[in-house]
Every structure is written in structure tokens, then in C-alpha cells.
């Protein structure tokens, strides 16, 4: 067709050149068609990937929202056929175990990050610590439970909120370390050089220049670490166990939202299932709250 156009336009020696090709994009030619089909396909897959999230959120709001009232936060979980009840002690237990995890993992993680970013970033210890942290982020959470059971529960002789917190700390440590290291590395070398030029020691550079500059990103990392472990249940199964009562001491077993959902999901009672949904809603709101908070703090400040 394009050859004809050429001849009509008076290019008599068109045949002397290479055959003219129509370079215009034609959506019905094989290549164009393939392109369009794949584009439709990628849209379908993307929508398919988003459906579960909307389904989960819908179920949480409908089933969990139905049970959302003040009693939910103040009452203890009901037994068997009992009606009513709440998840107060589970919320308390989740907050306490996560707080213990944060208290343990934040200082260790921060110092490890300072070592990785500032003290000796290229040394053997740093290379190994960084690598093992990355491996630990993919560590199955149930194994943290098995480890803490062997190392803490057997030693203390009982299940406890403290053991649960330690198990969560094992999972939180790599997140805190790696994000804090990343944040400290983002601090411009110029600023550190300037401080060193002023005669600062490494400790003074880290404490007065690197840490304050990197703080927003570090806080983001810590909050993400908290959000990650708040929803964990596998490591709590046989460390914090469960309890139907309020927590009085961190040396006692404690309830937690995640374990409550797990226990109640398999019960044949409607009341317990409703509570499991309500607990899921509360748990997801807590976790998303932390996530949103971290985005808010970590937003690049121009």
C-alpha cells in the first residue's frame, strides 16, 4: 500500500530503494494486537491483586464493626456459652508485649546501626552483621517462638509476657537495625566531614550530627518495626501463651489480640467468632495507625 502511494506521488525509481515500510503503529496488526491484549491483561491482574485487600477491609468493617462498642475494650473474653464479653486484656497484652519488644530491640538496633553506618562500615563484623540482619528479616516468626521457648521459657520455668516480648524483639531487631543504618547513610558525608574538620570525635559526630539529622527516618523504621510485630501471633503461641484475665505482672502469661483471634476462630460459638472479627478490626486499626504515623513522620522534609 505504501509502495502505491510512492508511485502515485511520482517516485518512479522507488524500486531502487529498499522497499518502503509503513512505520505507523497499527493496533490491529499482530504486534499491536499483542500489545493491546497484554495491556488489558496487566490491568486485570492488577485489579485482581487489589480485590483481596478490599474484601478483607469490607469484612473487617462489616463483621468487626458490628461488635464495636465500649464494652469491647473493658470486658474480659467470655467463656464457652457465655454471651457478651470483650477483648480488653488482649489489647492490654498486645500493647505490653510490643512495648517490651521495643524496649529491648531499639537500643541494640540503634547501636548496631551506628556501628554499621559510622564506626566501621566495611569491617568484617559489619559485613556479617548486615548480612545476618537481612537473613533474619526473612526468618520464620514461629522459629523465634521456638527459640525463645527453649532459651527463656524453659529457663524461667513459666510462660510469660516477658518471653513473648523477647520473641517479638528478635523479629523487630533486624528491621530497626537496617532502616536506622539506611537513614544514617543518607546523612550527607559533607556534614560529617565538616564536624570532623571542627575536631569532633566519632562519637560526637554520631551523637550531634548524624543522629539528629537521621532521626525522622529512624523513627519511621522503628514504627514500622513495631507495626510488623504487633500483628505477630506465631512467636507468642508458646511464649506468652494466653490468659483469660488481666495482666498483673510481666512474669505471667498474657493474652494478645493475635492469639485471641486464632483461638476464637476455631470455636463453634457465634459470640466468639464475632469477637474474633472485632479483635481483627482493632488489631488492623492499630497496625495501620502505626503505618500511617510512620509515613507522616518519615515524609521527606524539604
Amino acid at each position: 500500500m505504501s509502495a502505491d502511494t510512492g508511485r502515485q506521488a511520482g517516485f518512479e525509481r522507488a524500486s531502487d530503494f529498499a522497499a518502503p515500510v509503513n512505520l505507523a503503529y497499527n493496533p490491529f496488526e499482530f504486534r499491536g494486537l499483542k500489545n493491546s491484549i497484554l495491556t488489558v491483561g496487566v490491568w486485570l491482574v492488577a485489579i485482581l491483586g487489589a480485590i483481596p485487600l478490599f474484601s478483607v477491609i469490607y469484612m473487617l468493617l462489616v463483621k468487626g464493626g458490628a461488635r464495636l462498642n465500649a464494652l469491647l475494650f473493658t470486658e474480659l473474653p467470655p467463656a464457652g456459652f457465655e454471651a457478651g464479653g470483650g477483648i480488653g486484656n488482649a489489647i492490654q497484652g498486645t500493647l505490653v508485649t510490643v512495648a517490651i519488644a521495643a524496649i529491648i530491640s531499639i537500643p541494640i538496633g540503634m547501636f548496631a546501626a551506628i556501628y554499621l553506618a559510622e564506626v566501621r562500615p566495611d569491617g568484617q563484623i559489619a559485613v556479617w552483621a548486615r548480612f545476618l540482619s537481612k537473613v533474619l528479616t526473612g526468618f520464620p516468626s514461629i522459629l523465634a517462638g521456638v527459640f525463645v521457648y527453649a532459651a527463656v521459657v524453659l529457663l524461667m520455668g513459666s510462660y510469660s509476657a516477658l518471653a513473648g516480648g523477647i520473641a517479638l524483639a528478635v523479629l523487630m531487631l533486624p528491621t530497626v537495625t537496617l532502616t536506622a543504618e539506611g537513614a544514617m547513610r543518607m546523612v550527607p558525608q559533607k556534614m560529617k566531614d565538616a564536624a570532623i574538620g571542627m575536631g569532633c570525635t566519632k562519637a560526637q559526630v554520631a551523637w550531634s550530627v548524624t543522629l539528629p539529622t537521621a532521626l525522622p527516618s529512624i523513627v519511621t523504621g522503628v514504627i514500622l518495626g513495631v507495626a510488623r510485630v504487633a500483628g505477630e501471633s506465631a512467636p507468642l503461641l508458646f511464649t506468652a501463651l494466653f490468659s483469660n484475665y488481666w495482666l498483673r505482672s510481666i512474669r505471667e502469661p498474657t493474652a494478645s489480640l493475635a492469639i485471641l483471634i486464632y483461638n476464637f476462630s476455631s470455636m463453634p460459638f457465634e459470640n466468639q467468632i464475632e469477637l474474633a472479627w472485632a479483635a481483627s478490626l482493632v488489631l488492623v486499626v492499630i497496625i495501620l495507625g502505626f503505618n500511617i504515623l510512620s509515613r507522616f513522620i518519615g515524609r521527606p522534609q524539604v
Partner: protein, 323 residues
């Protein structure tokens, strides 16, 4: 460090060497930081040691037979984890097939200009939110949404195509299929996020060169961009696989905890992690030792997979960073 403007009597300069205190603080600071870094190394070593130590009695008793025995019999005290190893690998591979495909597709969708930038950011946030939903909540959702949803289709397939091994049993409730569906959703954010980073590392020049050669958008994606990012994407898949292997609660709630080896997608099965979750809390001494052995096997499998994934990831970002 306060610098006084009056010159010290016996000095020619404003500059002061750090005081003894500053030196000491610096020294202590380095030491504490080193301890922090060493703690991580020591922690991993201690985890390996502690789980290994607890598993020793069971290892002495059953040896390697433990890995190929198919019975978990508490009364007889004979334990084997072949069905759980099978279930772990089978469910994770199927989940990787689904979750990996969707995850990589979403990564392409988000990086190749199918959406205007502001929508791409929102969609990315949406997928990241999936990662924030706890495993137990997915389990609960699986019980009350996924199982009723897939059951009619599954039973229809079993009735009409029951001779195909994959459909050879009916889905009566918990089973492999709902577990795999939920598992794929759970690894999707991991795969999508790492793949996006890998594709983002492909230099823009390469894409422009492909377009300059007259490729369509998809020819550029499938023949140039994805192959260039292939190593990074494969690390996303390996790490997603590692996540699937260790995933516990959703599986313990959905897979049916039945120790059998079957190709059927609809029969109940079990995984190592689910076995630990469901049996550990009530286990007595000997079963607990066997469970520790199972934990060690799970640890070994996931550690190998994660180390491979991490090494590929480090290697690619180092290589691509130099382009």
C-alpha cells in the same frame, strides 16, 4: 566543645585537642556500638545453637529416618515429617506460582507508565497495606470468605475431573487450595516491592534504546526490561518463596493439619510451621524434642532459601549500581 575566645596562656592556637573525657566517651561509644553489631551475630548463632541443642535427643533417636517417615504418632512415640516437608514445599511452590506471577505483573504495571504517577503511588500504597494485615486476620478471612467462595468450584472440578490427580478429592472445609490462595496474597507485597526496585534499577537509557528500535511497549518490557532486571526479580521470587515457607498462622488455620502426602489441591495437608503451631503448645517431652527437630529442618530450609535470595539481591544491586 566550647571554644573560649581568650587564648590559653601557653598555646599558640585556638584549636584544642579533644579532652580526656571526650576520648573516653568516644572509646566507650565505639565499644557499645560494636557490642550492638556483635549482638546480632551472636543472636543468630545462639538461635542455631539453642534449637539444635534441643533437637539433639530426637536426632539421636530417629536420625535421618525422621525426614522420610510419614507418621506422626504421639502414642507410639514415632515421628516423621515427610508429609509436612511435602506440604511446605508444595504449598509454597503453588503460592509462588500465583503470587509470583501477580506480584511481578503488578511491579510492571506500576513502573511502566500504565498509571499516572499519583495513581501509581496510591496503588503501591494499597499493595503495601496488604503486607500490614496480620497473618491471623488473613486466616480468619480465609475461613469465612475464601473457603465458602472456592468450595462449589472445587467440588465441581472434583466431580467432573476427579481422575486428574490435582482434583482427586473434594474440598470439605480447610484444605490446600484456600491455604495456597491466602499464601499467595501474603507473599504478593514482598514480590511486588522487590521486583519494583529491581525494575527501577534498569537504566532509562536501555528502555529508550528499545523504543528507538521501534519496539512496542510490551516488546520493550518483555524482551528488554524484564530480562535486564531478571536477576533482581528472581531474588524477589526467592525471598517470596522463603516467606511462604515460614508462614505459619494463616496456614495453621486453613490447611487442615492432616499429615498426608497428596497431589490433590482440595485435600487437607500440613506444613512444618503449621505442625509447630498446632502441636507445640500441648506437646509432652518426647514430642517436643521431635518438634524441635522439625523446627531445625524448617530453619535449615528457610535459611538456605533466604541466604540465596539475599546474596542475589546484594549482588544485583552492586552490579546494577555500577551501570
Amino acid at each position: 566543645m566550647s571554644v573560649s575566645l581568650e587564648l590559653p596562656k601557653n598555646s599558640h592556637s585556638l584549636a584544642q585537642a579533644p579532652s580526656v573525657v571526650a576520648y573516653a566517651v568516644n572509646r566507650a561509644f565505639s565499644v557499645v556500638a560494636t557490642i550492638g553489631a556483635l549482638t546480632i551475630i551472636a543472636l543468630v548463632a545462639y538461635i542455631l545453637y539453642e534449637i539444635g541443642r534441643q533437637a539433639v535427643p530426637a536426632m539421636q533417636q530417629s536420625g535421618l529416618r525422621f525426614l522420610v517417615d510419614t507418621h506422626w504418632d504421639v502414642q507410639k512415640g514415632s515421628f516423621g515429617i515427610l508429609p509436612q516437608i511435602w506440604g511446605t514445599l508444595y504449598s509454597s511452590l503453588l503460592a509462588l506460582l500465583i503470587g509470583g506471577f501477580v506480584g511481578v505483573t503488578i511491579a510492571i504495571f506500576l513502573t511502566q507508565g500504565f498509571l499516572p504517577p499519583y495513581l501509581a503511588v496510591s496503588f503501591r500504597t494499597l499493595i503495601e497495606m496488604l503486607a500490614a494485615i496480620p497473618s491471623v486476620v488473613f486466616g480468619l478471612w480465609g475461613i469465612f470468605v475464601v473457603i465458602p467462595f472456592v468450595r462449589p468450584g472445587a467440588n465441581w472440578l472434583n466431580e467432573h475431573f476427579g481422575s486428574i490427580p490435582f482434583f482427586s478429592s473434594s474440598l470439605s472445609g480447610p484444605g490446600l487450595l484456600p491455604a495456597v490462595i491466602v499464601l499467595s496474597i501474603m507473599i504478593l507485597p514482598t514480590v511486588a516491592a522487590i521486583s519494583q526496585d529491581a525494575i527501577g534499577l534498569v537504566p532509562y537509557k536501555i528502555k529508550e534504546a528499545a523504543y528507538g528500535m521501534g519496539t512496542t511497549r510490551w516488546e520493550a518490557i518483555l524482551k528488554v526490561i524484564v530480562p535486564t532486571a531478571a536477576v533482581g526479580i528472581s531474588s524477589a521470587l526467592v525471598l517470596g518463596f522463603g516467606r511462604a515457607l515460614g508462614e505459619t498462622m494463616a496456614l495453621a488455620m486453613l490447611i487442615g493439619n492432616s499429615n498426608q502426602i497428596s497431589l490433590s489441591l482440595f485435600s487437607p495437608a500440613n506444613t512444618l510451621a503449621a505442625l509447630l503451631a498446632s502441636n507445640f503448645p500441648e506437646a509432652a517431652q518426647t514430642e517436643r524434642q521431635a518438634l524441635m527437630y522439625a523446627a531445625l529442618v524448617l530453619l535449615a530450609i528457610t535459611l538456605i532459601v533466604n541466604v540465596i535470595g539475599t546474596i542475589i539481591l546484594v549482588w544485583t544491586s552492586r552490579k546494577m549500581g555500577k551501570v
